[in-house]
């Protein structure tokens, strides 16, 4: 169950037409249909944009008919069920107009006037242009209608009262299409539009507070994803996943291919790559990379990790961890933690290893993982789980070793942290 709500903000209608045309050219070239080209291409373009927005992740139960809804999304406030958005008139959005759809995307209000729960990332989708919203709507109208009533949400009091959303909206929702920054390049603006809008990246990569809101000032500073027990790293800190010192191609590879020379996507981010990013054009992924790389660092880049003093308090765990690492991990990740690129990710100087939250490295050792199978990496290599072989102390030791060896500067990990994640993720 992954929360798949992320941001979607798209460029406003004022985005230079030339840019939009360039971005869609490769897609058009593949679409060789005999229908009136305008009609076919708007649907095709809508399909592409719906993928950019990862609509399928929430609105389709795996294996069920596309967009038939009812996928459960557990939240700290109860379980939400994404509705049926097929063109069925009774149970889907078959009676909606393009205006209704745009208003919903733009304002977070349904055509009947009620307020949407912000699990639907309208705080991001509000950035989407009218033209792109219309294209997505045209595409949604083109999929087979499915008659299936949407399940009612199962929220605890008081969250089951939609009137409370007015307060949430006042605090966390700012309506408005994306406004290009004219001091930046067209490519940067395209990337910003996709990241802030349809990509809805901030839904996970901005800290979420007790009210389920993400504050603008903390945009992209990272956060624990509720209910999923994964940590979405900061995109602004060079000590986490800040991309300031990444090569552009490594960012592109990570997003689109799922593996890169700097790291690999797992968990909820693997889902985003699998459902969404792998299908995006090279130009668009590159634009997103350009924008992400430009995000200001909220702290100076870490000084040369090679100079970092080894923490003194890890003594025994470090020694035990080194032994386990040599026996279980070094074959693939190398004695010096350099990995074998790109399929066995490097652990030395890998920002996601030393982040302040140790959730992700602990989970990887407990549960292993496959990167997503993508167009550019259809048969990924898998990391074995070790939950069945190593006890909490052993896992804490090996993660402590990995987080502090080779110049990594993470904090040591306790067996208790491991135990909490074990019970949350392995039963």
């Amino acid at each position: 169950m992954n929360p798949r709500s992320l941001l979607r903000k798209l460029a406003r209608a004022a985005l230079p037409a030339a840019l939009a045309a360039a971005a869609w050219l490769p897609l058009r070239a593949q679409t060789n249909v005999s229908k009136p080209p305008a009609q076919a291409s708007i649907v095709e373009r809508g399909r592409y944009l719906a993928q950019a927005g990862d609509c399928i992740a929430c609105h389709t139960v795996p294996g069920a008919k596309i967009f038939s809804g009812n996928r459960a999304m557990p939240t700290p406030f109860g379980t939400l069920y994404a509705p049926n958005i097929t063109p069925d008139r009774e149970t889907g959005i078959g009676s909606w107009s393009a205006d209704d759809f745009y208003n919903m995307m733009h304002t977070g209000r349904s055509p009947k006037g009620y307020l949407l729960y912000p699990a639907m990332p309208f705080a991001s989708y509000t950035r989407v242009t009218r033209a792109d919203s219309d294209a997505i709507f045209a595409y949604l109208r083109s999929v087979p209608p499915v008659r299936q009533a949407s399940r009612a949400h199962d929220l605890r009091f008081p969250y089951n009262n939609r009137a409370l959303l007015l307060g949430w909206r006042t605090l966390y929702f700012q309506e408005g299409e994306y406004q290009p920054d004219r001091s930046k390049s067209a490519e940067w603006n395209r990337g910003a539009y996709l990241v802030q809008g349809l990509g809805h990246c901030a839904m996970c990569h901005t800290p979420i507070n007790a009210l389920g809101g993400s504050s603008q000032e903390k945009a992209f500073q990272g956060g624990l994803i509720p209910m999923q027990n994964w940590y979405a790293p900061s995109l602004t800190s060079n000590r986490e996943a800040g991309l300031g010192d990444w090569a552009l191609q490594d960012i592109v590879d990570l997003l689109q291919k799922g593996v890169s020379n700097r790291g690999t996507v797992y968990g909820p981010m693997a889902e985003v790559t699998f459902n969404s990013l792998q299908f995006m054009s090279d130009e668009d992924v590159r634009a997103m990379a350009v924008y992400l790389k430009s995000l200001p660092a909220d702290q100076g880049p870490a000084s040369d990790p090679g100079q970092a003093p080894l923490r003194a308090d890890v003594g025994q765990a470090y020694t035990e961890g080194r032994r386990i690492y040599a026996a279980r991990c070094a074959t693939c990740h190398g004695a010096e933690g350099r990995g074998k690129l790109p399929h066995y990710p490097p652990l030395a100087r890998n920002q996601s290893i030393g982040m302040s939250s140790a959730v992700n490295p602990i989970r990887m050792v407990l549960n292993g993982g496959y990167p997503p199978g993508t167009r550019r990496n259809p048969m990924p290599y898998g990391m074995p789980p070790f939950a069945q072989d190593l006890n909490d102390n052993e896992i804490a030791s090996v993660v402590t070793f990995i987080r502090t060896a080779w110049g990594n500067r993470g904090a040591p990990v306790t067996a208790r942290e491991v135990n909490q994640l074990r019970s949350a993720t392995v039963e």
């Binding site: 795996p62 294996g63 693997a270 889902e271 790559t273 699998f274 693939c332 074998k340 399929h343 066995y344 549960n367 292993g368 993982g369 496959y370 990167p371 997503p372 199978g373 259809p378 048969m379 990924p380 290599y381 898998g382 990391m383 074995p384 789980p385 070790f386 939950a387 069945q388 072989d389 993720t425 392995v426 039963e427």
Partner: protein, 239 residues
């Protein structure tokens, strides 16, 4: 002298290039399925041979269609086991089929089955159900579909040898309670929910008491099964 120097020089060159070749080989990732499925063999044993742990069954030699159906069911959540659901969540069909074919083609020597400490009566009851079914409940004999030698049947029916009693019993229970489901019509759901608990225990005990043989999945196209099973389509189509 010149000759000696050049021989030494050539020797150094050779050593250097050998060392270089070794470094590259060590860094190279084998482009094999074996390397790609290390995430599987950590639990299921080298070559999918099976391990001591009752709940990590042997994969090797099971029909590819059966393994593929299980991989898809785990990925899509139709068969629930959190570690497997998580591991497979973002893998495409074509790759899962390659994994299934990989393990189906392997045939490492089976593990020795531990002795089953069950009463002879229970084992005898199990044998009766496995070989004759329970006509009163319209439950066919296991051997009708899973093969006379219980080695399975191509393309979608698994062999039942080499499974521990607790595993078989847990799977039948999972089917009864909807935690494990197969493609509709789900014949095993009908069977599992028709069996009583003592009958499940008897079948599990008997199957676990059998020696593991070299029996491989039977190929017998066109055979009509006693129940309609989505995993074993009767007229071609996807397994």
């Amino acid at each position: 002298m010149k000759i000696i120097l050049s021989v030494i020089g050539f020797g150094c060159l050779l050593v250097a290039s050998v060392a270089h070749a070794q470094a590259t080989a060590a860094d190279r990732i084998p482009d094999t399925m074996e390397a790609r499925v290390q995430a599987c063999t950590g639990c299921h044993g080298a070559q999918g041979r099976g391990v001591e742990n009752v709940y990590f069954p042997r994969l090797a030699g099971k029909p590819a269609g059966y393994l593929y159906n299980q991989l898809v069911a785990f990925r899509d959540g139709r068969r629930k086991y959190v570690p497997m659901n998580y591991l497979l969540a973002y893998l495409p069909d074509a790759y899962l089929m390659r994994m299934a074919e990989h393990f189906a083609a392997l045939n490492p020597p089976p593990l020795v089955q531990p002795k089953v400490a069950r009463s002879p009566d229970q084992v005898r009851d199990g044998q009766r159900i496995v070989t004759q079914g329970i006509p009163a409940k319209k439950i066919p004999a296991c051997v009708t579909c899973h093969g006379t030698e219980l080695g399975g049947r191509e393309p979608g029916i698994p062999g039942l040898l080499g499974l521990r009693a607790d595993y078989v019993s847990a799977q039948l229970g999972a089917w009864r309670f909807g935690v494990r489901t197969a493609l509709a019509p789900d014949c095993m759901q009908f069977i599992a929910s028709s069996l009583s608990e003592p009958e499940v225990a008897a079948v599990s005990a008997y199957l676990a008491s059998l020696p593991v043989t070299t029996a491989r999945p039977v190929r017998q196209p066109g055979l009509r099964l006693p129940l309609a099973c989505g995993s074993q389509p009767q007229q071609g189509g996807q397994p």
